[in-house]
């Protein structure tokens, strides 16, 4: 009998980081389906293209850092990042745009900081913010939901989509591009919200966006049920955004969009359930997560309403990523047997 000395605990829950990542990827499926249904094959093609790139970049970086390749590749984190980037980009984003975004996410925002678990910012959002600022034309040209064309459901053929993404963008693009509802609402000129709703084709088809948001929310609820993340961040995020939107909507319904609009268009749901809940770059304690969520919700509303960009999920999340360590210091939970929680950085050596 050759026994070894091992300290407790001796049993382990059969969970793994790879499993968590896989589950999160699966939870994006309803969103992927909805996107494909309303915006065509572009989303799917982008996901495959981005994933292939992400795995390649990840492998190269791990190799360059002399780390065990398969051990790190198996954690699925690169693929999850790629999927989130592909979902955030416009469906007909040209191939090079996706490539740049994935490169920035995997190489710069993740591996240069030390790989998985070490990145202070959400890699997908770093990439998104970078391409949004660098290539505003490509990034703001979304397609209108395909329900607009022809009779009934009629999306662009797969091969056409392929050539659109990997071929020459400029020739065909204009035929399919359209503003997003957030763009419309932002650049409605002197119209009141009511008039904008009546006047705009894009806004008339806002239902597609609602459906996509609902799909993301479904996936998010699945993850909540599986306890992949706690309810604190998404709840605080959505409630604060909804709350502030309601407040301004009550004050002036003509000037400000209604809360339902804010919650169900743009990247709100994707951000609330898949980006803000990224544990690596968010706050730690439950209380901290609530503040983190509230911060994101408020920033989104502020930037959408008074800022220069129609949507603000990426910027808001990045800004709050920056604040997360600070939040952590002041939101230590009250430990068992202590009267009050400890605060600040007293332990600084």
């Amino acid at each position: 009998m050759a026994l070894i000395r091992i300290t407790s605990p001796h049993v382990h829950k059969p969970t793994s980081t790879a499993g968590i990542m896989r589950l999160v990827i699966l939870a994006t499926l309803p969103g992927i389906l909805a996107m494909t249904f309303f915006f065509g094959w572009g989303t799917l093609i982008n996901i495959i293209w981005a994933s292939a790139l992400a795995v390649t970049f990840e492998a190269l970086c791990i190799k360059a850092r002399h780390r065990p390749l398969s051990f790190y590749l198996k954690d699925n984190s690169a693929i999850l990042t790629a999927v989130l980037i592909a979902l955030a980009l416009p469906p007909f984003a040209p191939w090079w745009l996706t490539a740049i975004a994935v490169f920035v996410a995997i190489v710069i925002a993740k591996q240069l900081y030390g790989g998985i678990g070490q990145n202070p910012f959400n890699p997908a959002m770093v990439a998104y913010a970078l391409v949004l600022i660098s290539f505003p034309v490509e990034m703001t040209r979304w397609t209108a939901p395909f329900m607009l064309y022809g009779e009934g459901w009629n999306i662009l053929a797969f091969t056409d989509t392929l050539s659109l993404i990997f071929g020459s963008w400029a020739e065909h693009a204009d035929a399919f591009t359209s503003a997003t509802p957030l763009d419309e609402m932002r650049h409605r000129g002197g119209l009141t919200t009511e008039e904008a709703w009546r006047a705009s084709d894009v806004l008339a088809n806002v239902g597609a966006w609602h459906a996509v948001s609902a799909a993301y929310a479904m996936g998010g609820v699945l993850l909540l049920y599986k306890k992949i993340f706690s309810w604190h961040t998404p709840a605080a995020f959505l409630l604060s955004l909804g709350g502030i939107a309601t407040f301004f909507y009550i004050i002036s319904p003509d000037t400000y969009a209604d809360p339902f609009f804010h919650l169900t268009v743009g990247g709100t749901m994707l951000g609330a359930f898949f980006i803000a809940t990224d544990p690596v770059s968010s706050a730690t304690s439950n209380k901290g997560k609530i503040w983190f969520g509230i911060g994101i919700g408020c920033l989104i509303y502020i930037i959408r309403t008074w800022g220069n960009y129609p949507d603000a999920v990426a910027f808001s999340i990045l800004l709050m990523n920056l604040a997360a360590p600070f939040i952590d210091q002041y939101t230590q939970p009250r430990a068992y047997g202590h009267k009050a929680p400890k605060r600040g950085m007293k332990g600084k050596a």
């Binding site: 026994l3 980081t17 998985i116 230590q332 430990a335 332990g347």
Partner: protein, 854 residues
């Protein structure tokens, strides 16, 4: 049913309890050899009270408690003591500890023992002591001496008694089976504890996965008069942790770093309660316990009642453990138990479970991945800590931060490690950090103590030095007093400073020695990099300072008495000597010259020049001496001295002139040089004369106010009174000379043809020119002296002269204006007359002042 207060976190690992509850509790066979550690509890180890080779009976005390926190140890079976030596004991460290080994005789013969017929008749303290002597210690985990917990009444008010039957760790069913089979023992035990603590509530906490046990317990409780609540808590690890159970049952939290008794709560393990019952009612000490032997490798997982000291190997055999599939042997539960490598290790009072695990149920931990801060650990932590933060801090050795994040509230339950998706051995990190901090603190305490000891010693030494100093001062004072007395009697003033100097010398020497000592001590300290460098440095500096002071004092004392003698005297003396030397030299030279001239030597000319030079020097020396004497001799008559020197200078000058004349007459080539010498001598003489005059003036001015009082002084003032006349005479002299010179020049011009006469005349002219120059020089010197004297009184003579002239002019002008005014009968006449008067007054004043100097 009481209310349940949930605690944060917790996990639900697979229970694996059913396997071992199928069979009833069996008695484990008596082993051949019992190994009984003398410390199976927290606190001081018991002290063996048997000898090797001694025969012992079952239940006989073999080691007795010593100290407040300790319990006794008893022989688990009858036999012979074979050994009292360190053996492998159940401990996570795997270290050996002293054990008493008994070779059993198989008789299992009891020592005489008898329970208490009525424990209530016994005073509480005696009953507590009885429990202590029967070796009862906590059987749940830590093994805290039970009597201590029952003896809290003095400083704590206990209102709640909690019986811990939660048994939350997977696999373990020892308490479960105990309740099922021996519930009446538990009730009896609770009654005894109730008698000792008299709590207001009694709660039994039990997890809802022990339905059978709960039923049995409820039945048993019907037979007691006590109001005991069975609180069924949801199955969740670690609800059996003392703090967690307290929270679950009462909603109260045990403050960090305190014990439940501080909030009026006492917890007892249910197995301990049964052991108390057995001890009190039957007199049987704690010599056996129920152990769950289970795990994948156990053929017949079951609970065994094993004697304390039974080797684990015997139990494994009874449970038919398959050694081929056995991969890990764990004592305790899978969450907090520890592995054992040696199956000869004995069962002790706290051993509740042996898990003989196969590889599948306890696989080796996979390599840990990076922490993704998923927060699952935080959701699982029953102490409400931030495990991932603690992990980062422990990993980066930021122990201060870890402490700030309440590392020491971690109960090492392992829940965080259990849920970690990245398989990070979190608890191991925390244990590492805790040990590091503890080691650091111990080190700190040690160094603090060392420092205190050192400081105390240092203070002692310093005090000794001070005392010595005080004594020395006293002695010195005493000595000074006697010295003073001696001095007074002797009245030898000269001796004192010498003595003083001696003393100072000694003092300086002493301080120097001290300084050296301090320096060497400092160097040694520096070399050793000792702690007290700063102190030594200070000492050294002080010594240095003292040495300097002493040296200074000494020097001052030495130089002091000499100062007055060296002040002015040597100067004049020196000058006098110099003057004398110069005179002697001059005389010698003159003699030599005379001889040379007499003999018609060639070198006479050079000698003559030397003589002139020497004369010069002698005169200068004399002059210097004279002036020095006048300036220093305050009581003497400076004027006389000055006059003397002037006369002397005049004499020298005349001699030199005579010599020059002879030289010219002889057509000597040295004539030119001699001429220059004469001129110089003249200048010297003039200087001397001027000095004399100014001195005269000074005496006059200073003595002037006194003149009326002391008539004698008037006699002395005579020379000064002569001054204006002198000046006039000089002026006249100058003009006479000028006239003579002019006459001679005219004669010379007219007598050019006659060469003989011309030569004479030329000589005459030279002489007259010289005389004129002299007279002029004399006059100038005189005037300069006047101006100087006037300046000494704050009056500028030149300015005074000008002012006087202006005043006179103004008077004349006014006189003319008045004349005109009188002629014109002007009205301004009066005013003009007034002005005239004023102008006249002013002019007179100026003239008066001026006349003082002329």
């Amino acid at each position: 049913m009481s209310k349940i207060f949930a605690f944060h976190g917790g996990i639900h690992p697979p229970e694996n309890k059913k396997q071992s509850t199928r069979a009833p509790i069996r008695l484990a066979p008596i082993p051949e050899q019992l190994t009984i550690p003398i410390q199976q509890h927290i606190g001081a180890p018991a002290k063996p009270c048997v000898q090797v080779g001694e025969q012992v009976l079952k239940g006989q005390m073999i080691a007795e408690a010593q100290g407040r926190i300790s319990v006794s140890i008893h022989a688990s079976s009858s036999g012979t003591i074979t050994d009292i030596s360190p053996q492998a004991v159940p401990h996570p460290s795997g270290l050996e500890a002293p054990c008493i080994r008994i070779k059993t005789d198989g008789q299992d013969q009891w020592a005489p023992h008898q329970g208490l017929a009525d424990y209530r008749s016994l005073p509480q303290l005696e009953l507590i002591d009885y429990i202590r002597n029967h070796g009862i210690a906590g059987m749940g985990g830590a093994g805290f001496p039970t009597d201590v917990k029952l003896h809290l009444g003095d400083d704590h008010i206990v209102n709640t008694l909690i019986i811990n039957a939660a048994e939350c760790e997977p696999y373990i069913t020892a308490d479960d089976m105990l309740i099922r089979e021996r519930a009446e023992q538990i009730v009896g035990g609770i009654e005894i504890i109730n008698y000792l603590l008299n709590p207001t509530h009694i709660l039994i906490g039990i997890e809802d996965n022990k339905a059978h046990a709960i039923r049995v317990l409820e039945d048993a409780l019907r037979h007691t008069e006590l109001n005991i609540d069975i609180v069924v808590v949801p199955t969740k690890y670690p609800s059996g942790g003392e703090k967690q159970l307290v929270r679950l049952l009462t909603g109260v939290e045990v403050p960090s770093g305190r014990i439940p008794a501080d909030v009026g709560i006492v917890c007892q393990n249910i197995g301990t309660v049964a052991a108390i019952n057995q001890a009190v009612f039957h007199g049987t000490p704690l010599i056996s316990r129920i152990v769950t032997v289970t795990g994948g490798a156990a053929g017949k997982p079951q609970n065994l009642e094993a004697l304390i000291g039974t080797p684990i190997s015997d139990l494994l055999e009874t449970a038919q453990v398959n050694h081929k599939t056995l991969s890990r042997l764990v004592m305790g539960g899978p969450m907090m138990g520890f592995t054992i490598e040696d199956d000869a290790i004995p069962i002790i009072k706290t051993s509740n479970c042996i898990i003989a695990a196969v590889k599948e149920e306890m696989p080796p931990a996979p390599p840990s991945q990076a922490c993704i801060r998923c927060g699952l650990c935080e959701q699982a932590c029953p102490a409400e800590l931030l495990p991932q933060q603690l992990f980062w801090f422990s990993k980066s050795r930021e122990f201060e931060k870890a402490k700030h994040h309440n590392l020491f509230d971690c109960i090492e339950c392992g829940a965080c490690s259990y849920v970690c998706p990245s398989n990070i051995p979190l608890v191991q990190y925390y244990r590492f950090a805790k040990n590091e901090i503890r080691a650091e603190e111990a080190e700190q305490r040690k160094s603090d103590q060392a420092r205190q000891r050192f400081e105390a010693r240092q203070a002692r030494l310093e005090q000794a030095v001070l005392d010595k100093e005080i004594r020395r001062k006293e002695r010195a004072e005493q000595a000074a007093k006697t010295q003073a007395a001696k001095k007074a009697s002797n009245e030898t003033a000269a001796k004192t400073p010498e003595d003083n100097i001696k003393q100072l010398k000694t003092a300086a020497a002493i301080t120097r020695t001290k300084l050296k000592k301090a320096l060497s001590a400092l160097e040694v300290a520096k070399a050793d990099s000792s702690d007290n460098i700063a102190q030594l440095d200070l000492q050294y500096k002080q010594a240095d300072h003292a040495a300097e002071e002493a040296q200074k004092a000494l020097e001052l004392a030495q130089s002091g008495p000499q100062v007055p003698t060296t002040s002015a005297a040597p100067d004049i003396k020196q000058l006098k000597t110099q003057a004398a030397v110069a005179r002697t030299k001059l005389k010698k030279a003159q003699q030599a010259l005379k001889i040379a001239e007499d003999k018609g030597h060639d070198g006479a000319d050079t000698l003559r020049a030397t003589v002139v030079q020497l004369e010069e020097k002698s005169a200068a020396a004399q002059l210097a001496f004279a002036s020095a004497e006048t300036s220093t001799a305050s009581s003497g008559s400076p004027l006389l001295a000055l006059k003397e020197s002037t006369d002397k200078a005049l004499g020298t000058l005349k001699k030199a002139e005579a010599a020059l004349e002879t030289a010219i007459a002889n057509n000597s080539p040295a004539a030119e040089k001699m001429k220059a010498g004469v001129v110089k001598l003249k200048a010297k003489y003039t200087e001397a004369l001027a000095a004399q005059k100014s001195a005269e003036l000074n005496t006059q001015t200073t003595s002037a106010p006194k003149a009326t009082e002391v008539p004698a002084q008037n006699v002395e003032q005579q020379p000064t009174a002569r001054t204006p006349a002198d000046l006039k005479a000089l002026k006249q002299n100058v003009s006479i000379m000028r006239t003579k010179l002019k006459k001679a020049e005219t004669l010379f011009a007219s007598a050019e043809a006659d060469s003989e006469q011309a030569g004479e005349l030329q000589q005459e002219i030279v002489r007259l020119t010289q005389l004129h120059k002299d007279a002029k020089a004399q006059l100038d010197a005189e005037e300069a002296g006047k101006i100087k004297a006037a300046a000494a009184q704050g009056i500028d003579l030149k300015k005074l002269k000008i002012d006087a002239a202006l005043a006179r002019a103004a008077v004349t002008k006014l006189e003319r204006s008045i004349k005109k005014a009188q002629e014109a009968e002007s009205a301004e006449l009066n005013a003009l007359q007034n002005e005239l008067l004023a102008a006249q007054q002013q002019a007179t004043q100026f003239n008066n002042t001026l006349s003082q100097f002329e």
